[in-house]
Symmetry: C2
Subunit: 571 residues, 2 copies
């Protein structure tokens, strides 16, 4: 028997595109040309919610989806018939509950080829095999908003029992989080299955693959049954699906079957999957590269897919000569190609020679197009228009004039975007966004942010990594070594308003990702005043984050769906 692992990249909401993608994947699959494989001895496996994309959110309320999904399954059925293959596919589905209401389930269906000589008999060869039981409703997940769990459906066992058998091999199906709870696996073990198949839409974060492996190894350890885990690939707004489909064996080893960050179809004999494989640490380390490489790949994929799925090709970046815009320009150029990226320089009277020099050097290195538009005449005109109020409120003048510069730049970038049709990438890092050290409708203006979930110290690390990776000063060394400054006032540096980034970032990680209290921070030895400043700025800037553009989730907790705070609050 032959197993194919289809690590594909669906587009949310485009059921028709996803159906075609699945049909083409089946049609083009190598095993179709393998004369040694009998009909009915082929199985191709697609990820969780492959027909809708993940997470579909309120699109699941679309009243036409139940019928669209049915039509899609039938279309795939005809392809399975043609190629005499079985397909296991994740998709949303609607069933009646005990009071005849439609409830939505996160399901997996097996579509089998109709092997009857009389094809017109139209046997029903589409069968729901599994309904997700463990619905994640934390972090970025809201599955309980949409889906009913297997355990909450009366007589769910009459719909399916999460197993299916092909050619005397019995498979037990787990849908993503089901594989993070031992209960479900233990129940399936009692049904004498030979192999767990886990279909997933599991979003990337740093070291997330280790957590996936931990849970899979735990199931194999407890049940002595290997687990085949099929991952999704692709960027979806703030989420990246990083792939790396794998299998565990009875020796508690992991074998990576599909690459990370790439669409891939692997085609393997079942026997080879069920064998104990050699202790393949090499295989493992080969596939699980350094964190910075993972971060780089996640950003590239997230950027490419955001543009592709929104039907845009080009990006505009306001290039200041500082590190945040420099790394964004470098990443966008790698992701989209130099012909699709344009830098806009917008110097003011506070822009240093070094900034212009750095910006122009990088533009030359990368070979991107650029424009240079001074904001000085605009600021002069704005000051004139605002002169009455500036005289009236001298104490707020500095703040207002700093924001004015950032907003004039935002305005120019958006006008350029309207003119040339490229999307603006914003360039604020996580440390800035945490502290509110950014101007709403100024440097926060734009469609997407590649470094939204990178602390400032990580921006430096990744910059050095990229330069090393490409053996070139893609980000000029002078940008990396200079002191960070917003250049909105004479001789300004970030540290006039913020603690040093190496301390700030450590405190932020403890608060945002490790949920530490003030007392715990004090016990760790951080300065009381610094802690209070950080917490107060973090709280007070929530209104800015609420209006910030999306960015790629990279950490355990980003300022995205996994960060939900009220604005009007006192803590």
């Amino acid at each position: 028997m032959q197993i194919s692992i289809a690590q594909i990249n669906p587009v949310i909401g485009d059921i028709s595109y996803n159906t075609n993608l699945i049909c083409e994947t089946i049609s083009n699959n190598k095993s179709n040309n393998n004369k040694n494989i009998k009909s009915d001895h082929k199985l191709i496996i697609f990820p969780e919610l492959a027909l809708s994309g993940y997470p579909p959110e309120d699109l699941l309320y679309n009243p036409t989806w139940p019928e669209q999904i049915n039509q899609s399954l039938k279309k795939i059925q005809s392809i399975c018939n043609k190629h005499k293959t079985h397909a296991l596919i994740g998709h949303p589905y609607w069933v009646k509950d005990n009071i005849n209401n439609n409830i939505c389930i996160n399901a997996a269906s097996l579509i089998s080829p109709n092997l009857s000589p009389d094809l017109s008999a139209n046997n029903n060869t589409i069968k729901i095999i599994a309904i997700k039981t463990a619905l994640p409703n934390y972090g970025v997940f809201d599955e309980k908003r949409y889906f009913t769990s297997y355990q909450d459906i009366k007589n769910a066992d009459k719909i399916c029992d999460n197993t299916f058998t092909i050619n005397n091999t019995k498979f037990g199906v787990l849908i993503c989080e089901d594989g993070w709870c031992l209960n479900k696996a233990k129940q399936l073990k009692e049904k004498n299955i030979d192999l767990f198949i886990q279909i997933n839409a599991s979003p990337f974060e740093i070291n997330k693959h280790k957590i996936r492996h931990h849970h899979a190894l735990n199931i194999t350890k407890q049940t002595s049954i290997p687990l085949l885990s099929i991952q999704t690939i692709g960027g979806q707004d703030e989420l990246i699906f990083d792939g790396g489909s794998f299998i565990t064996d009875k020796n508690h080893n992991i074998k990576i079957l599909s690459p990370y960050f790439k669409t891939n179809i692997s085609d393997l004999p079942l026997d080879s999957l069920l064998q104990k494989f050699n202790n393949n640490q090499n295989n493992l380390s080969h596939n699980l590269s350094h964190n910075l490489e993972n971060i780089y790949q996640a950003i590239i994929l997230g950027c490419q897919d955001y543009f592709r799925k929104n039907n845009f090709t080009g990006a505009l970046i306001g290039l200041s000569g500082g590190i945040d815009s420099a790394i964004t320009l470098a990443l966008a150029t790698k992701a989209l190609g130099k012909e699709n990226v344009k830098a806009i320089l917008m110097p003011s009277e506070y822009t240093s020679e070094l900034s212009l020099e750095c910006a122009l050097a990088q533009i030359k290195t990368l070979g991107v197009s650029y424009a240079n538009i001074s904001i000085t005449p605009i600021i002069k005109e704005l000051k004139k228009s605002l002169s009455d109020s500036i005289k009236l409120y001298p104490e707020s003048k500095n703040l207002a004039l700093q924001n004015l510069q950032a907003r004039a730049r935002g305005l120019i970038l958006m006008a350029e975007s309207n003119l040339c049709g490229k999307l603006v990438l914003t360039t604020g890092n996580k440390s800035e966004l945490a502290m509110g050290y950014a101007t709403l409708y100024g440097d926060m203006s734009g469609a997407f942010n590649l470094i939204k979930d990178l602390y400032k110290t990580q921006v430096y690390e990744l910059s050095k990594f990229i330069n090393k990776k490409f053996n070139s000063q893609i980000i000029p060394n002078k940008v990396i070594s200079r002191a960070p400054s917003a250049e909105l006032a004479p001789n300004q540096t970030d540290q006039d308003s913020l603690p040093p980034y190496d301390i700030l970032d450590k405190i932020l990680i403890e608060i945002i990702e490790n949920n530490k209290s003030i007392n715990q921070l004090k016990n760790m030895g951080y300065n009381n005043q610094t802690i209070d400043l950080v917490i107060s700025k973090l709280k007070f800037s929530e209104y800015k984050r609420k209006q910030s553009p999306l960015g790629i989730k990279l950490s355990k907790r980003s300022f995205g769906k996994d960060w939900r705070y009220p604005i009007a609050l006192r803590i």
Copy 2:
């Protein structure tokens, strides 16, 4: 026995403020001075999650909250002792599950006075009475993200059984949504309770009070037990809690005990609550006013509380001479007082005489301060700066120049805000936001939007209602009667780009609030082209809504927490 209903307005996250508010409410309660009431014969009832405010969202992850809540309960206990009163209070709480993990519950505790002669005995008089069972996780609600349901806690009945008895009267406690499911009420009926007490944090929407009444009457009908429903009051970001605490009697009547949209403490003998009351249709109609009055009150309360809870007093509004900014100015002035509101006129070459006339007339009527800052010189300067790109992309020139004007105005408003310290109110209505007929970082720049959830036709209705209510042209009649225009191009009207608002709004309501499909809309007789245009614009403008400021939820489904769509999608 005396029952007090404390319809209070907590501040999210400010446990100390909320504790003091509860303590003061107990201390100031009339029944404390009523010598006819025996000790131990007084009960004061506070709403759901009164100690934290609702919805606390991720603040529930704050590691210091369990201890803070315990301290608060002890502080309230000392006040209950002093005034010899019982208090029933909603609050989050943390208990150990069967594997010793901390789980969070949505609880209600009864704090009883220590009547022992030896006060130093320090009897534990704080007791958890109820744990919420029905956790809403739809619409604006995410309770399953945070709380564990009563039914999912092993041995929950050992913690509490949702009843308590004072002076031989047995009370059954329902927490908000628990009262929307008959099961829980039927279980409590079997415990021979005399009265249901339902504590709520139930957000306003048009006609929501009717749904609350429906469920309460249903419980009384099925159980023959009256239900006393205590509501929260106040604005919290996009949500308004509208009050109107009530009781049902055995005749299936509703009696409103506390006013809508106002903090209130009602103090009543239990006997009067348990009596059948007369068929009081009058009472009902007196309290449930016309929808437009409810909408008006909700906006006023929402505006006041957003400013108060964020420690701001003043509002800035860009006044165009059109109806959206006119109604916003009128509402803000009523909510905050004319001394706290400033209008900014920002005319351009496309601004009509009528617009200026209308704006100045309204400023005079309302008596608010204003500034007049022409954007013409700024636009001239911007065009000069952008001239290279404008020449390069002549086909996008019109779009870019229109947005430029909106963004220059946004920039001026934000600069004024930075200078004078007032918050900018944006003025886009729901129809515009649905269609993307608004400029990001332009007219969408601001902290809060009073009419975000009003369709354009509702903006007209509410304007007429307000003028009638105050018997004055608070919104000039000429603004109401003129054709709507963004005035960003010569002789422009909204209907150049959009279907007529009376048709558009009907289609939008069917899609957004009634979840109708394209085919259903066609069957209703709407024009195919119009439907396609509306759906495509609605979908394509999601990126604008994601960055839009908060606004007050008024409808069944607003563009807030109850509207969750991906940006990168194809439908």
